[in-house]
Structure formats: C-alpha cells, structure tokens
Symmetry: C2
Subunit: 488 residues, 2 copies
C-alpha cells in the first residue's frame, strides 16, 4: 500500500493552486437543497439478444426503471428530517482526469444531506476495499485534490471485483462498515463488476447500495444513457495538443514520419477525436480494420502508398495516429495471439512456443521483427488481454513500412529519399493531467448524483448526465440500471 | 524541399488565433525610432587557453569590442536618411519555440529602418541558403506565424555551414542577392559556423555582415553574454508539465517506475531545470556522471538502492529523469563508442564489428541488451555524434535495473514486489509547442537587435539581451563577438 495515499499535498505550482479555486458549475436539479427522483420506463439490455441471459443472471436488478432527478416543485414543503448516511468510494480503473471531483461532489452532497454522514475512501483501490483499508474523506483531506488530476487521493490497484473471493471480501467490508452505499468509479469492466456486486449483495441481504460512475479516459463506455466518460475530454485535449506539436515538428524538419499510438485500449475513440482536433496526415481506426478485415500487410501497403504519394510532392514528413490496441483489430494478428494464448493456457514454456504454432501462425510470427515477437510471448504470460495494449504497434508499423519502402526502392518503384520514422506512445502524460472545466463539472455532478441515488435506495445503477453538449444549465441528471450495459 | 514552407497557414484553433494577437513587449532601447550603438571593451575567448589559437584563426573578427544598444539621448536630432537594406535569414538547428519571432522582429525593425528594405528567408534551412532558394518575408507571410511554434515558415535541413563547399555556396548566395546582412538562427554549432563564415566573408571582400541569434532548446549556449537561448523556457515548461503529469500518474497507480529521457543533447540543462520544476524522485546529471567517472553499473546500483529504499516504505513507483545524451557521459560507454567509431572509419562492416572490439569493449558490448547493441552499431553509421542522442538510454537503464532487481531478489537481498518500468522520451512534443510569453518577447527583441547590428556594420557578432530575469523594461540589448564562444 502506498504510504502517500490520502496525504494532504502541497499544491506546488500556481496553476495547481489556481485550479483548486475553481468551483464546478451545477446543473439546475442539483442547485437546491433537495432533489426529487422520477421513475420512468423499465429497461432491458442495449443488445436485445442478451436480454434473456442477463434477466436470468440478474434476477433482482434486471429491468429496473430509468430514474431522473429533478428540482422539487416550488413550495414543495420543508425538507424532511434525514438520517446520517454511510458511504464508501473506490477507484477501480486506469486513472482519468476528474476522478477526484467525483469524490468531492459525493462528499459535498453527503454532508449537505446530513452533516453527520460519513464518507470512507478505500485506500489502494479495490485491494483496499477487500482489505477494508479506509480513509475518512473530509473537507481537509479534499482541499488539495479539488480539480486536480490523478487518482492519488486514494490510489488504485487491480481494478476488479470479479472472483467469488473478491466479491465476498467486498461484501464483508460493506457489512463491517455498515455502509448504506458503495460508489465504484471506473470504466466498462468496473461498472460491469459493479452490476454483479449489486446483484450479489441483494441476494445476501446486504443493505449496501452499489452505484457506478463512468470514469475512463478510453471513452468506450458510451451508449444511449452515457454520453461520455469523465476524463475523455481532458485526455483528448492534451493528446491533441501533443499531436499538434508533433505535426508542427514534422513539417519544420521535413524529414521524419511520426507514428503516434494513443492510449485508449482497443477502441479508437481517443485516436478518432484527437485526429479531428489535430489533423494528422493519417489515422488508422481499429474498428475499420476489423470490419474490412485488413491484413497487416494491407495496412502497411496503404501507409507506403501515402508515403510515396507525398514524396512525389516533395514531402518527406508526416504524422500517423493509431489507437493503443490496434493490434487486436488486425485479423491475423488476433488469430496469432489466440494461438499463443492457448499455448500459454497449456503451460507450454515460452522458449518452445514458436515451434508449436500452426504453420501459418508460425510463418506470421517469424515474419514479425524480434522485439514484437518477444512482446507477444512475454505479455501473454500474464494472461491479461489488457497487456496486449502494451505491444509497441507503432514501432511494428514503422519497422514494416521502412522495410517495404526499402523493397520498393530496390525494385525501382520508389525513387524518393530514405524513409525515416520516430515513434511515440502518448497516454501516461495525458491521463495524469489536470482536468478540463468540462471534466471538473461533469465529475462533480456525477458525484453528487451518486449520493442522491443511494439516498433513494437505488442499487445496480450508474450515475448519468444527459445533454452534455449543451451548457451546464441544460444538463439533466439521471440514473440508468447497470444491467443495460451487461451482455451475458 | 518541402512544398509547405512559407505557405500561409490557417490558424486552426482558438489558441493559435489568440496567440497570434500577442504583441511582444519591447525593452526600452528598442521602443524609439532609432537606437544608438555604444562600443565597449575589446574581447577575447571565454576559455583563455584558446585565445591565441582563435586570434590566429580569426584575424579579422577576433578581439572586436562588446557593443551595447541604447535609446538615443532626448533631442538627439532628426533621424538621418537611411538607405534600404537587404538581409537574409536562415534557420540552422533543431526547431525551438520562438524561432518565428526572431524573423518577425527582424522584419519589423528592417521595415522601420526603411520600408524599401528587403528580407529574404532561405527555404529549407542551410540547404536553401546554399541553393539560393528564397521566400520574401512580408507582413502577409508573417501573419500566421507570429508567436507560433515550429520552424515551418522556412524549415531547416542539415544545420551546418562548415565545409569549404558549404561556405562557398553560402558566400555565392550572399553575393548574388547582394545581401547587407545574413542572420543565422541556431545553437552552439550554428553560431560557431557563423563565426567562421563571418571571417571568410571578410577575407573574400564580401560585404555581407553575419549575425548569429541564440535559439536552441538545449540551453547549452550559455555564457557571460548569453543568459539563455530562445526556446529553453518554453521547452522546460512543457516538459515539466509532462513530467509532473507522469509523477501524478506514478503515485496514482503506485506500480511503475517511469524512466524519462528529456531532449537537450549531452548537456543536462533541460533535465535539471525540469527536475527543479516538477520534482521527480531521481535526476541523473550527465556532467556529474562524467565528473565522478561513474560507471554504468554504479549508476544502476544507485538507482536500485533507491528502488529498494522506497520498497521498504511500501512504495513501488517513482520517476527518474535523465538528459538525452547521458550515454556519452558514462566513461566506459564513451570509450566503447569511440572504438566503434574507429572501426566505422576503417570501413569495418557492421556485422564484423563486435568481433574486432578490444577485449574489454567486447565484454561491455556483449553485456548490453540486444536493442542497445543494434542502436550503437547502426547509429554510428552516419558518423554523426548527434545521432548518439537517439540511443534509448532510458530503456537501457530500465532494463539493467530490472535485471539487477531480479538478481537481488534471487539472492534474498530484495524482498519487495517485482520492479516494473515504463519508458519515455520527451522532446518532439515539447519543441513543437507554442512559445511562452518570455520566449515570444526575447526572440522578437533579438530579431530587432539583429537588424541594428547589421545597420551599424557589425559582423561575426551574436545578438544578446541581458537582465532577462527582470521584467522586460529592465532588459539591456547588446551584441557580443562570436569569437568569444569559439575554442580553436
């Protein structure tokens, strides 16, 4: 456990100090002393083919209605007496700018609800939840984390509540702290885990309500209820600035192709949004590659054609943007990875693996440069598909494009200057950045909504805000059952 | 040649457009319609042991006096008639934020001097100078480059004017354009080349005055006359922000050590300044390594001791910052590189090289991980020491630290969790960024000073500004002979 978590921090720079003064703007329904819940239609799953299976797996939480939060009608009477409430909050997922503001919003709503209420932060993410390691969240604790990036107030660790052991540990903690609610801050998988936990707690007569909050830089938790995730806006802005700088650098020197891979898992949302903001010369969308079943060499060939066309205009520079997990979208690479996975699961030692691949997979494997071969074998050892994202796909593409340009030169098909590349992976530097105003506002509102959800007894729900493209005074606060995003 | 250079560009974003509106602040001496040059003491070289050799090599430009520019005394009389002036300007060195403002300041001063004056930009850097490829710099051309990053107005290429052929080509261009002055925008080597060119032009009765402007992100052109170089401030700010983000990321996840290498050549100025601004856990200064003659394994051992001490506090994360060219400061690595250089100069093929190293060098070479071995051999092929900077030293350190931590674990000396690292090289994304107010002001002032230097007939001088740590109204403009920075 990290000794720094929860420590008040000195806001080192003027920017941090000024940022801490920003007061998030509130949507209309959250501006008064109380909110009123309105219950709407019953729900099903987004993918209708899953509905039956999810209904069976989630007998207590499937089909719950949509809930909207509105300001009480004028003259609705005095605020009724409210008992203190006990809530826990945990970071579960890659840190994403704005996460701290969810905790802040939750805290402010909880103290407004009843000043005797208690908010426990789990120190060290889900491992802290399992081990019941808590930090009481107070105004003093929050002071240096308002509108600041990172998840360092509480930290994060393995980011899952999935195995029976993990779910039971979480339940034990909820019991022993006598929690009225547990707020899980994370992306697709964490909210999926939250759905399962909510169902299990009901089955075990645990009173703790489970609320998910969509916080993820990937932007891949997006559906008819969730317009975007907290952090996506900031990360796209920061990455776009970096890609723009690289574009300017490319055109100034006029001699390099920059291959930039952007963190955001397999989905291309971050790469797509950044390309719209920064205008690189080429963007490869994983979804398009998968849909068109483009092979690795077809992708290389397209890039080389672009390089050649630009050379004919006297241009020897350019910027190419790809999503973090592109490699998983390339059909034959995916198949190769699957074969390697099977060998791993059969405990074949790494050294013998390449000799046990099928003939076509072995041929592809041998074709790949050594550094990628090593990464493919090693990263699979953890049997964690997320690790696939760590493969330096931008370097693979740059290497293969260079090889192909040399080949074209030898064959007389390319007569331009030597192809040179520089590779980048942008992600850590963006996800640690200070959140944008949008993310500060959005995260704070979601935090406040979470408290209201617990107060009215919702469990297995996600906090949502609609009309995000409009100014904050048009935002509409709601809650959607987590089962809508489950599939099986 | 790049077809884009000099093209008016659309300022895509609001930031770029707003940035273009910024009006650089002027030091007092540049606020009036004229300036007066005051001549001071004769100069020698900064390193006195070089003085005699430089005096012999630069018979016409050695020992010139320092020159200060001041506002004319009140009532100094009418401005005398001034003939149109013809000036060329060239980017020679890695792009650095603020470069465009030098051209802008030069242009404004030149048109104020006499509106019939002409400013030629050399398209494609020094190659454009040799080939006499010009773009006339006008208000229209400049409009979209004011306060913008990059060198894309004119581009850059090989960044040297050194060989006899290159110097003669530059002289031919100066003759044929009938230039009164040539402004060379660049770092240490470019200003060193400028000194040589100035001397050669005098020897050949060419009237063109040569002026150097200190523009370099490295910050390594710093002495009693040059307080800092244009771009250093911006690059340190941008890199410090990125390193800070990474620090926040490290503490949030609590599981990685980030090894960050910062662009800035062999000198540690950028790394040092960024460490002061962003507070990483460890900083390795190349100068300290060289001075203490620290071996690679001593460095690794120090890092591992730090990792181990932090593990004992329950901390498994950290951020380490190193300068771009650290590898050249490590004694035995430098010696190995020298041996490889000699083999290259003897045309030994790369494949045979490792077998021809001396026994100790061969042993060190074999000890290095394969990716570094390949980089050491390949990058030397260009026989360009700058390429050494391209060696992924951060990955070398991370790899060796991991190996050592595994060894310590096996020996029972380390009982903590597995060491994990993430490597970064920050540079391209910072040097392409929008210049800070400081760099905008400084670069613009240097551009204006350059014109005044040419107008009073100085050659072999560098434009300088003193008191930079004070507000702009305390800045003092001057010119220092380029021979002061030469050594042999």
């Amino acid at each position: 456990m990290n000794a720094d978590f929860g420590a008040p921090k000195e806001l080192a720079g003027g920017l941090q100090q000024r940022r801490a003064l920003y007061q998030p703007r509130l949507p209309p329904c959250l501006q008064g002393p109380t909110v009123r819940a309105e219950y709407g239609d019953a729900t099903t799953t987004i993918d209708p083919t899953c509905a039956q299976a999810v209904a069976q797996a989630f007998p207590h939480t499937f089909g719950q209605p949509l809930v909207s939060f509105v300001a009480p009608a004028a003259g609705a009477g005095a605020v009724e007496e409210r008992h203190p409430i006990r809530v826990g909050v945990v970071f579960s997922g890659r840190q994403s700018p704005g996460g701290h503001n969810v905790v802040w919003g939750l805290h402010d709503a909880l103290k407004a609800y009843n000043p005797q209420s208690l908010l426990y932060g789990f120190v060290g993410g889900t491992e802290g939840l399992f081990a019941n390691k808590t930090l009481e969240i107070t105004d003093d604790v929050l002071a240096s984390y308002k509108n600041q990036g990172g998840f360092d107030l509480l930290g994060r660790s393995i980011d899952q509540i999935r195995t029976t052991k993990q779910v039971n540990a979480a339940m034990t903690t909820c019991h022993s702290l006598n929690l009225d609610g547990l707020v899980i801050i994370g992306g697709v998988t964490s909210n999926s885990d939250a759905a399962q936990l909510a169902e299990t707690l009901i089955q075990n007569n645990c009173k703790t309500k489970v609320v998910g909050v969509p916080v993820s830089l990937n932007g891949d938790l997006k559906n008819q209820f969730v317009e975007t995730t907290v952090g996506f806006d900031t990360v796209c802005k920061v990455n776009s600035q970096l890609v723009s700088n690289v574009c300017l650098d490319a055109i100034s020197a006029g001699k390099y192709y920059y291959f930039v891979r952007l963190m955001g898992r397999k989905a291309s949302h971050v790469a797509f949004e950044c390309a719209l903001q920064s205008h690189p010369n080429m963007l490869i969308l994983g979804e398009e590659v998968a849909l068109s079943k483009l092979t690795l060499m077809e992708i290389i060939s397209k890039i080389c054609d672009g390089v050649q066309a630009r050379a004919e205009l006297g241009k020897y520079h350019g910027v190419l943007v790809i999503p973090e997990g592109l490699i998983e979208s390339i059909p034959e690479m995916y198949a190769l990875i699957q074969e390697i996975n099977i060998l791993h699961n059969s405990n074949v030692p790494v050294a013998e693996m390449s000799s046990q691949l099928s003939p076509w997979a072995a041929a592809l494997f041998q074709f790949l440069p050594p550094f990628i071969r090593r990464e493919l074998l090693l990263h699979q050892e953890s049997d964690n598909s997320a690790q696939l994202s760590q493969i330096d796909t931008e370097q693979l593409l740059a290497h293969l494009v260079e090889t192909e340009m040399i080949k074209r030169t030898k064959e007389g098909r390319y007569k331009g200057r030597k192809f040179s590349s520089v590779c980048h992976f942008f992600g850590y530097q963006a996800r640690g950045s200070t959140p944008s105003n949008f993310d500060c506002d959005y995260a704070y509102a979601l935090g406040r909504i979470s408290l209201h959800m617990i107060a009215v007894g919702l469990t297995g729900y996600m906090a949502t805000v609609a009309n995000l493209k409009d100014p904050v005074d048009k935002w509409r606060c709601a809650a959607a059952p987590l089962t809508v995003i489950r599939c099986h």
